[in-house]
Amino acid sequence: MLDVREINTYYGLSHILFDVSLSVHKGEIVCLLGRNGAGKSTTMKSIMGLTPPKQGEITLKGDRVTGCPPYQMCRRGVGFVPDDRRVFADLSVGENLEISARPCQGSDGWDKERVYGFFPALSALDRRRAGVLSGGEQQMLTIGRALITNPDLLLLDEPTEGLAPIIVEMLEEKILELKASGLSVLLAEQNQNVALRLSDRAYIIDNGHIRYQGSIEELRQDEAVRQKYLLV
């Protein structure tokens, strides 16, 4: 599905990502764990084309997509949920979804009704301005907005950050539901508990370097690695 090979990303002169490589296969949830500022969001943005890497290669479903602008990444099937949510605050919930809707090849694509069916809480808010929604509602909207672009791969950047436990639990269920429907997910998380529950495989990023990769069982047992890179 997604293959990232040795990408290096800079913000101006500062070097943020160093030879980051990772891959996501079809239908699996892969988490990218790391502390604040470790390079999780930059990795997500580099894949999406928002901060294009200077070196390295990104392939999506076998096609080389390095340097593609974000709108093309989206049309090629990557849905992006940024960590700061970035709903279109002046637009209503419905309008947020309308401008994001992309046609899909298959018959069971995502449209507004399906998003509202998936997140029933949103359907009552159709005409509400997105800027006045609560954090949890905004998070549902950003995920819905990514889904309605009909992606094959979802980039979820800290979807549970700052949300109440009950909402986190609901989102976890929804993410597993999406996985069951065949979607691949790259999940950036600080919260190990969420990541360990949801993911099939894990990468740990620290200071812009990938320090660990392995299956979730291995990571669960590897207390030392978690201690070293994840505990604050």
Partner: protein, 298 residues
């Protein structure tokens, strides 16, 4: 009343209507400027030049078709399209490579266009002023409250709400409008949901220029078409956009009405200082609402 012996109720009413009809043209031109400012973040000083080109083109087309009664109407249709085409060439040829530059650079860049366009207009139309007759069906006046009111101004008065409604529909009900509102705030994220923002920018830029062209076409029969009309309008519409709230189409409407009304009433109250009143209004507004009356997108 003793202070202003000429100020009867009907005179005041007529003058208000004249002010509002002037506000219509100001609104149409300013809405184009504010759209470009809000969505593309370009302070386009050349907007006044496009308005001037619209007026001159209207003159040329209307004169070319002067044997038919429809000369002005053909011009009203075509001249804004000519201006829109110039806008398309500007955007695709130059502006789209410069969106990441800071505002000051853009300001200087668009200023250079005012110089280029002023000379181009001089080359094409010479430095004499031109004038265009009001189209036949709007010649003469109606009697309102016992006072004559030019028919063409009534036509302008009716156009104002029509354009306001059209722009409301465009920004609130069409996909382009919704995308533009989102792109004005978060261009990057609009790209990340699969929208080719460059196309949206081009469309909004061309639409803004088209509105400048319409304004130029509509103003052509009401005043001398001359060099220098680019400068006077750009100052007025920039002030309108600033007092209304940058990038806000309704702000442009409100600003234009304030500008048109204070101008018209100023002329009535103190003819020799008439020109001062709109600027006094601007100063007053900005003293109390430095960011403009309505929400600024900047």
């Amino acid at each position: 009343m003793e202070l202003f012996p000429s100020l009867s109720f009907s005179v005041l009413c007529i003058q208000i209507l004249v002010g509002l009809s002037k506000a219509t043209i100001l609104f149409i031109v300013a809405s184009g400027l504010t759209l470009i400012l809000g969505v593309l973040r370009i302070p386009n000083l050349a907007h006044g030049s496009l308005y001037m080109i619209g007026a001159f083109t209207t003159y040329s087309i209307a004169t070319a078709f002067s044997q038919s009664n429809l000369g002005f109407w053909v011009a009203l249709l075509l001249a804004p399209l000519v201006v829109a085409l110039i806008g398309l060439i500007m955007e695709q040829g130059l502006f789209r490579f410069l969106y990441k530059r800071d505002h000051l650079m853009m300001l200087l860049f668009t200023f250079s266009f005012t110089l280029v366009f002023a000379d181009l207009v001089k080359l094409v139309w010479g430095s004499d002023y031109r004038s265009l007759a009001v189209p036949k069906i709007f010649q003469g006046s109606y009697l309102l409250l016992g006072m004559p009111f030019p028919r063409y101004n009534l036509f302008l008065l009716l156009l104002g709400p029509l354009f306001a409604a059209g722009l409301w529909y465009l920004t609130n009900r069409t996909l382009l409008g919704k995308i533009s509102r989102a792109a004005a705030v978060d261009r990057e994220m609009v790209g990340a949901v699969g929208v080719n923002v460059n196309l949206v920018y081009a469309a909004v830029f061309v639409l803004g220029c088209y509105l400048a062209g319409i304004g130029g076409a509509l103003v052509a029969p009401t005043q001398n078409i001359s060099q220098g009309m680019d400068h006077s309008i750009i100052i007025e519409i920039f002030l309108i956009v600033i007092i209304g709230g940058l990038g806000n189409v309704w702000g442009a409407l409100l600003g234009a009405v304030i500008f048109g009304l204070t101008d018209a009433i100023g002329i009535l109250v103190a003819p020799q200082f008439g020109i001062v009143f709109p600027y006094l209004a601007v100063i007053t507004v900005l003293t109390f609402r430095p960011k403009g009356l309505l929400k600024s997108i900047w």
